[in-house]
């Protein structure tokens, strides 16, 4: 196999130290990449090495070929262009979001072989075992003359990719927004980076975790009240992770109001593995939150985060260091609760966001939304969930609380609860090894809908579990086919709790509880430090 120095020798005639001119990037890729190389184009649902992806899509297909893509996301059209141009043989990835339909068509045509769809943490892990990239194309905010990199608030996947590549004879190529004399701090040392070039425009960052409070509905407020009273207060959850979406944004906005009115300040939601959600600002300002470690940053939150070194993990320069691999590990092992939303849930509680004809992948949710079987340290919430789930006489152990919060129907009257997940059809049509399940039913401990909360951790047989799920499935066909007596029995046993069982009056479920009712309110709550991106400014 060709060594790193042999590869770099091919571009020595235009490589100046570790820098190369931007207009020679395509030439550099043609020279550096060997047929059959494992190539990682950095990108996540937030930061994207978008210019390097464009350059890769302009390489010579006769030279740069038989590639094995090993990367977190296929989110940009260029990622798929490379495949369509016939330069890729094999693909291992995690998430495809906006390109999900195009990817499914390419796989159905048999253009490429799919290795596997991973979670982020699994793919990072395989970078250090059998999927180590030979070529990594990464994005940073700045480089200095020597080639040290500053990844700043959106550090995200860069350290994991670079470390695996650089220490195994691979080539690390970085696009940067700026080249400066002195970096605010060094995130990646120059000796791990082999080529640096200034991109013609700053790399893209998607404001993925911003939810406009103006769009939160009363039903979401009701479900947030159920979550806070029936789950957070019940188990005394202090360490947690929230998924993306309006359902969890509503919970964040009810902490300084509803949760505070229940005397829960300091008793719940103090320590987080979470992106810097703008909707968490009111809770931080109310003194609810002690610590937040972030997977990535969020556009517009930079100044607010910098002003809170007591809460967030900041460098000496005052900006966030978001290392996704560490935050994923934190979410998996150090949190007592994951709560998120999903598209479909079946009668065993398996949930999936897969729909036919779209291969969206997993991202990080399955690692957050899974019991950490390797966990050994105890906490009251973990012990309680474990005790509830355990069969009599079993070895005592704890359990992570995994909750899904969903409305029984989506828009256009699509039921969330189904007899059979679309994931089965997708697995068949795309030739996947397994139906792509986001959260497995045996990991799910709680289900929250507008109908109430189902404590699945308190069900000790499959029949109870199924009726507990049907019992909160509302007027969906799955809900209407419930055994009414069984469901009433589960309610008597405290396995199903309706809002009234929790002392929640439906009249009380209104938007007045939201600590911020608009993006403008969030800006106000932040003391003007939060600077929402233009698409969220409507005043």
């Amino acid at each position: 196999m060709i060594s790193r120095s042999e590869r770099l020798a091919k571009i020595a005639y235009f490589r100046d130290g570790r820098h190369i001119p931007s207009n020679r990037m395509v030439e550099a890729l043609n020279a550096l990449i060997q047929p059959g190389d494992r190539v990682c184009v950095e990108g996540n649902n937030q930061k994207q090495a978008d210019w390097l992806a464009e350059c890769l899509a302009k390489t010579d297909p006769e030279v740069v070929r038989n590639l094995h893509l090993v990367q977190s996301v296929l989110a940009l059209p260029e990622h798929l262009d490379i495949i369509e141009r016939g330069q890729v043989d094999r693909l291992d990835f995690s998430f495809s979001g906006p390109q999900a339909g195009r990817l499914a068509r390419l796989l159905e045509k048999g253009t490429i072989q799919l290795g596997a769809i991973h979670t982020y943490l699994e793919l990072f892990a395989r970078y250090f075992v059998d999927l180590t990239p030979q070529i990594a194309l990464v994005a940073a905010q700045m480089a200095d003359r020597e080639g040290n990199l500053y990844t700043g608030p959106n550090t995200e996947d860069t350290p994991a990719i670079v470390e695996a590549t650089a220490f195994k004879q691979g080539i690390v190529i970085a696009q940067v927004n700026e080249i400066v004399d002195v970096l605010p701090r060094v995130d990646i040392p120059a000796s791990w980076v082999h080529c640096v070039a200034q991109a013609p425009r700053p790399h893209h960052v998607e404001p993925l975790f911003t939810r406009d409070p103006a769009l939160i509905t009363e039903v979401q407020v009701l479900m947030a009240m159920i979550a806070i009273k029936g789950l957070y207060a019940e188990y005394g959850i202090t360490r947690l992770n929230h998924g993306i979406g309006f359902d969890t944004a509503a919970i964040e906005l009810l902490l300084p109001t509803y949760a505070a009115s229940l005397g829960l300040k300091g008793k719940i939601c103090t320590h987080w593995a979470l992106n810097p959600h703008p909707t968490l600002i009111p809770a931080i300002e109310a003194g609810f939150v002690e610590s937040v470690h972030c997977f990535g940053s969020e556009v517009g939150m930079e100044d607010y985060v910098a002003a809170h070194p007591d809460i967030f993990f900041l460098g000496e320069d005052g900006s966030l260091r978001s290392n996704r691999a560490f935050c994923q590990a934190a979410g998996h092992y150090a949190c007592d609760l994951f709560i998120g939303s999903t598209l479909q849930i079946d009668l065993q509680g398996n949930s999936s966001t897969a729909t036919k004809g779209r291969i969206t992948g997993f991202g990080g949710a399955p690692n957050m939304g899974a019991d950490a079987r390797g966990r050994r340290h105890a906490s009251p919430a973990w012990l309680r969930a474990g005790a509830e789930s355990r069969a009599e006489g079993g070895m005592p152990r704890g359990r992570k609380l995994i909750a899904q919060t969903v409305e029984t129907f989506k828009e256009q009257m699509q039921p969330t609860f189904v007899e059979r997940l679309d994931a089965w059809d997708l697995a068949e049509s795309a030739g996947l090894d397994l139906p792509p399940v986001m959260i497995y039913g045996d990991d799910l401990t709680h289900l929250i809908t507008e109908d109430g909360i189902a404590h699945l951790s308190r069900c000790h047989n499959a029949a109870d579990r199924e009726q507990a799920i049907r019992g909160v499935a509302g007027f969906t066909p799955v809900g209407l086919n419930r055994d009414k007596r069984a469901v009433e029995n589960l309610r008597d046993r405290g396995i199903i709790q309706r809002p009234e069982d929790l002392g929640i009056s439906l009249r009380d479920a209104n938007r007045d509880w939201l600590a911020a009712r608009s993006i403008k309110d969030l800006v106000k709550a932040s003391g003007g430090l939060y600077q929402p991106p233009s698409q969220f400014r409507n005043w």
């Binding site: 409305e407 029984t408 129907f409 509302g474 439906l506 009249r507």
Partner: protein, 114 residues
């Protein structure tokens, strides 16, 4: 636009004060619903154990879902002798059930029943 009428069995509603308090709940807007609650008119022949519900809905073909939502509502609440008029612009059953229950609670509060 579909027009639906339901007559549902329910426990007679408490009528603490003998005054007709109309309650308008909710605002018609995207994904929302308007509900008017009032006592069944005194010259009507329906019994005190019947709840009348009239719906104008933008979404056609969901009468079975409406039936299920409203039947459960009439079972869970004492709404006999009351008339509900709904103006729906495509609300989900979750919104309908929540708004119905809110309308009932508002009505009870207005009547001084709770």
């Amino acid at each position: 636009m579909e027009h639906l009428n339901f007559q549902l069995h329910s426990t007679p509603a408490l009528q603490v004060k003998k005054l007709s308090a109309d309650v308008l709940c909710g605002i018609v807007s995207s994904g929302n619903l308007e509900i008017l609650v009032e006592p069944v008119s005194s010259d009507s022949t329906v019994s005190a154990e019947t709840c009348l519900i009239t719906i104008d809905t933008a979404a056609e073909g969901f009468s079975e879902t409406w039936q299920a939502v409203l039947t459960q509502f009439a079972e869970r609440h004492a709404v006999g002798g009351l008339s509900f008029t709904l103006n729906d612009v495509g609300a989900t059953p979750a919104v309908v059930a929540l708004r119905m229950a809110q309308a009932y609670e508002e009505w009870c509060a207005a009547m001084g029943a709770n």
